[in-house]
Symmetry: C2
Subunit: 314 residues, 2 copies
């Protein structure tokens, strides 16, 4: 019996949010619909940020109103603040169902201030209101601790601080906690240590890890997280996404590369890798630039080749 | 006391051998000399292949004659056949010392035939002659098992076959065995399993793992190898190298990305990452194209940034 690992895709939100050109709403919907057929556990389909700040998310309502929902797939949205929460709940009630809401703060006080103009305590004051709104509407709530493995401004982030925020989410009644490696600073030793502590301290909620491959450690960190008992991972189709501080740097871990590795290792991701790759190869045309996915270039691990006529090394 | 991990760089051989433009000999020598100052354990400086087949290796003798050797660094060369062995020994005696010779066969019969036009048994007949030549000349010998984790023609490669070849090297008197993931098919579960078996079956020689990052699993495989007790890893500066079957696919694991991860994890690589990065950033100009190294783009993990004036998410 293979161990099940749950794979979530965030490309349409985390990837598209930094794209300069507006991705047409129908393109986003077609992509989400294709992803829905692959066996992914969750798809983060949009965010309710201010459309002037993140123009690519301006069509949040239209997306939720028009995607084809597949049974068994959780459709989630990201919410930055109370205003976004109100829009999400309103959309959920009138235009299109929201299964799950992700809210976030940064473990680093400096990063939280820069990102959402709040102290961490102020963020949790908002979360206390949001969780009530979500529960009233019957929507699951996940709490993200961003910069959980390091902050690009402060550097080291104390582990007890990360675990403390996770516990505050749980104490408020959140259904799950996500640790986010926002700028790719996590290493496998650290991931295994913090993840094991998270599982131990917050045993009765979902745990998700969200890695970036900024310094090449992304898939190594997934393996480390699994060793610690965490079974849910965010990836981004074709490796879409980026790092605000390093132009050209790699972004989120690539969903199909993650699935390829985990299936090779003998895990059951529930994902049809061929369908996922068929969606991934369309991404360069959608965003108008190259992407970092590697399996889409090299082929699946057991994609075999004809023996060449010409000897190629000597 | 930190655990020591030994890092070897193969960019000048494994990276440059597939470059279409000839890299000037003085450029190669300057790069090797820079690498010698970084704390790397070994540098593979050239190969004695036929210069018509691999034009970039035509200056093997000049390189060995002119590099500045640093005490404690092992300078190795790759040898494909007896003719190359003769040239290496002659060079060692008359022009420039060779510390260590790497010879190779593929665990897959089909790949070995395509690569060196030999059956695996024929390869070992040659190795029996080569090891005697090397011992007479006082040169260490390392035996590489290529396609040890999968063959692009045959697919699955039986583990007992890989371990059998490793043992044949050891029985011939080789000083070490390298398992090579020639086309990036290895996954961490497999690496940990085979590496543990190698350490157990061949306890009294050096063990080295040589990974490619073709499908993004390279650094995860390094972590898996260390878990199995292997402490020596090949990397390629700036991630130089490639895959003959997938144009644009990633090649060898990137040396400086590997060092960055291992130092973050608390290992002692003995390498000065700043010096390594200073050499790596010159690589795009040397080869005339982009490279896949990620730390050179994003900065070391603890490379911190000023807090931006403008909030960047909302």
């Amino acid at each position: 019996m293979k161990q099940r690992i749950y794979i979530n895709d965030v490309a349409v939100r985390d990837g598209f949010q930094i794209e300069k050109n507006f991705i047409p709403t129908e393109t986003k919907i077609a992509l989400i619909d294709a992803l829905s057929e692959t066996g992914l556990a969750k798809i983060e389909v949009t965010s309710f940020v201010h459309p002037k700040l993140v123009p690519n998310m301006a069509d949040a309502v239209e997306i939720l109103a028009n995607i084809n929902r597949v049974k068994g797939v959780t459709y989630s949205v990201l919410i930055p603040n109370l205003k976004g929460m109100e829009r999400a709940i309103e959309t959920h009630k009138t235009r299109g169902k929201v299964d799950e809401i992700n809210v976030f703060l940064s473990a680093s006080e400096t990063h939280n201030r820069a990102n959402v103009n709040r102290t961490c305590d102020q963020s949790f004051e908002d979360f206390a209101i949001m969780i009530k709104m979500a529960k009233d509407a019957g929507i699951r709530m996940m709490g993200i601790v961003a910069t959980a493995f390091g902050c690009p401004f402060e550097g080291h982030v104390p582990e007890e601080r990360v675990l403390g925020f996770a516990k505050r989410y749980v104490d408020l009644g959140f259904d799950g906690v996500t640790l986010g490696d926002t700028t790719g600073m996590a290493n496998p030793a650290q991931v295994e240590r913090i993840s094991a502590a998270l599982v131990q301290q917050c045993p009765n909620v979902e745990h998700t890890l969200h890695f970036h491959n900024t310094r090449g450690m992304g898939l190594a960190n997934v393996v480390a997280g699994i060793r610690a008992g965490i079974v849910s991972y965010d990836g981004s189709l074709a490796g879409l996404g980026g790092c605000p501080f390093a132009p050209g740097a790699t972004g989120n871990i690539c969903t199909e590369d993650t699935v390829n590795m985990l299936e090779d290792m003998g895990y059951d991701t529930g994902v049809d890798l061929d369908k996922l790759l068929a969606a991934a190869v369309k991404m360069p045309a959608i965003v108008g630039h190259e992407v970092t996915g590697q399996v889409m270039r090299a082929g699946k691990t057991m994609h075999l080749h004809a023996v060449p006529d010409k000897l190629y090394t000597q």
